[in-house]
Subunit: 455 residues, 2 copies
Amino acid sequence: MCAALSFAVASEQNDTHDVAARIVGAALVDSRAHDKLAWLTDRIGNRLAGSEALTRAIAWSAEQFERDGLERVWTDEVMVPHWVRGRERARVVAPVEHRLPILALGGSVGTPEGGITAEVVVVDGFESLEVLGEAARGRIVLFNRKMERGFTSENGYGSLSKFRSAGPSAAAKQGAVAMLIRSLGTADYRLPHTGALRYEDGVEKIPSAAVTAEDAMLIARLAEAGETVRIELELGSKTLPDARSANVLAELRGRERPDEVVVIGAHLDSWDVGTGAHDDGAGCAIVMETMRLLKKHDLIPRRTIRAVLFTNEENGLRGGRDYAERYADEMPRHVAAIESDLGGGAPIGFGVTAGEGGVEIVREIAKHLSVIGADQVFPRGGGADISRMKEYGVPQIAQLPDPALYFDYHHTEADTLDKIDRHDLDRNVAAMALMAYMLAEWDEPLPRIEVVDDD
Amino acid sequence: MCAALSFAVASEQNDTHDVAARIVGAALVDSRAHDKLAWLTDRIGNRLAGSEALTRAIAWSAEQFERDGLERVWTDEVMVPHWVRGRERARVVAPVEHRLPILALGGSVGTPEGGITAEVVVVDGFESLEVLGEAARGRIVLFNRKMERGFTSENGYGSLSKFRSAGPSAAAKQGAVAMLIRSLGTADYRLPHTGALRYEDGVEKIPSAAVTAEDAMLIARLAEAGETVRIELELGSKTLPDARSANVLAELRGRERPDEVVVIGAHLDSWDVGTGAHDDGAGCAIVMETMRLLKKHDLIPRRTIRAVLFTNEENGLRGGRDYAERYADEMPRHVAAIESDLGGGAPIGFGVTAGEGGVEIVREIAKHLSVIGADQVFPRGGGADISRMKEYGVPQIAQLPDPALYFDYHHTEADTLDKIDRHDLDRNVAAMALMAYMLAEWDEPLPRIEVVDDD
């Protein structure tokens, strides 16, 4: 290697190190992410699609982007489902009485006036439901599967969430009058965890709710002892006409290739319990603060960084769908989409779905984050809101906080501000800001996902 | 030492070891404690004084003692307070809306029809309440003190429970219209913890409830930011006329000195939330199973062992009072009272309040329990139900499970069977059975507490 080239490499490395130091330093010293999260959770509260709170969150976040000096701030109107919970209660009425704390699943129909009282049958999955045959008719089906910590577990959230989404229609097909699911969660504090269901077309819609792990076990113990367990269930939930909502967007225009875009996203909506701090207030604060800090510290990369706060991730994904459709023409010039939607734990790294060599580039960039422990890179990743861009080949990246406690709080009344450490949140800002900047600065765009044409 | 004496000592030691081995072996191999606890919690459920469930628990436990072959089984009727919770709800209504999961404190009066809506003032103790002066008038007072783990902490349960018991009257004296307390608990899953209050005579009774730690922090954050925080509170609680209840008793008559008694006790009542598994179903199962195993394995000591399942520990202590008064004549021949009322964690040892030399004797006995980790002896201990025997000089012993998680679940909906490990429970039975047997067998009675005559 000649001296001049060696100097150039060293200089370039120094430049990169210098920029990385500025980004990480700004995030750790100058972050207001926690203040933003506190406002969103304490002052606006939970914000389900269709709620007045979500409308306020949209106005507030757009206003924040403006205040933080971003050049282009706008909202894209999106119509969203408007489901309301109403009054709900349940109890075991035989062989003994037990109150059951419950949460209706998002999208569930209500029970008829006066509720439903029926015998419970306990199953551990679709197969054992099918084996029941006629024995499910007129009954309440309880899916009782214990969720385990860890993403790779076959009893993790990814594997078991199908019972929540598809369980209601599966139970209805066998004549069940209602469906209950053992909460998908990992703590043991008698917390019900809500979440969305998906009724199958042409199948009767039956009322569906989550019971706590404790109560699922109780019911299973009684049933195993040969008792006829009867439950009284009353859900006041219903779906109103679609409501007006919006994605909130803001840009840092690229200094050389402004038409090429790195999207950084999170979702502004939450369930209607707790205050949506981990899910996904944290992600919104990370995205918003990434934008403010890059702008403030004049860290403007070659390409454009576009922040998108999606609406309606939880029960419809209308925000994510709208974005991919509305900007379909721009998709060939979207070089990456990064989503933060796993809470506010300490950052551990990234998950990447990209074309060949993409993981290596992300790994190269993430090395700068070893100092804050955020340099792990997994060869698979993305996020619900950005998933619709996949079919256009846009590389998908998950910004990953440590998910160890995430599913303790996910979709519960306990998902509140106090669960999130200020410094962990700042470290996530550092990880997001660095990755977004570097991908927007990188010589070549990240290798795209190969799109297989089904036609 | 002559050979004969040496042999005698060794032989006696062997006898003691032999008995200890039989007791511990029986408890670890042959225990049905978990089955008993499961019945009490799953099939009877929570059992507040005055409830039908407590009446069933009394009948069931007496029947169990009979079935387990104890010679003398009886109940002593006790009149108990009959407080009922009714419907309850609360929410922050300004500056923003937040639902507040709450539990009325046991004994609280209800709110007037339609509830109370008032501004909150946040205090951290009696002093800061007093400093408020007239600023508390017409307001809702919130005691916001964070409870810490550990018995010795000055912010532990022992130190902070005075705010729950005496806080309502302290607030009322300054004209407050209601009192809220940050739940006395150590977990962060948005669980309210109930517990008893004690209205002062001649002071207005104001409605009082526990909010979650999360919500106490939220309210404090809003108030610190200068916001006027208003809360709407509705409690349907009320106190009905006293109800009939009973202590349940059973004896293993001593083979040499049947008039001398070692009491082993726990309380059969619980709060009206969860199923009272840790508090104090575990204690009841430990006491009941201790009796069955000693009887079954023909381990009959010199003195009588009397099991007492007390009623109404939680909100009146009428069972404990009745016992001490009813058997006042026997108190001089009560050589010890052991209570198990700290849940079903792994046993760690005992706490002892006795006359000089008493701790050493208990320590000597507890050595046999080192194999199960239950040989720690602390120089202070007892239990609420047995505390009334103290004034008669009866040595007080707490059988101690590891309390690390106890206050995560204490007085909440989450105090359920699944929190208790079967083998931990069996080890507690071993600890209780060995201590009770040895104290009933010991040559000399345990040194009594010195009673200071106040007259």
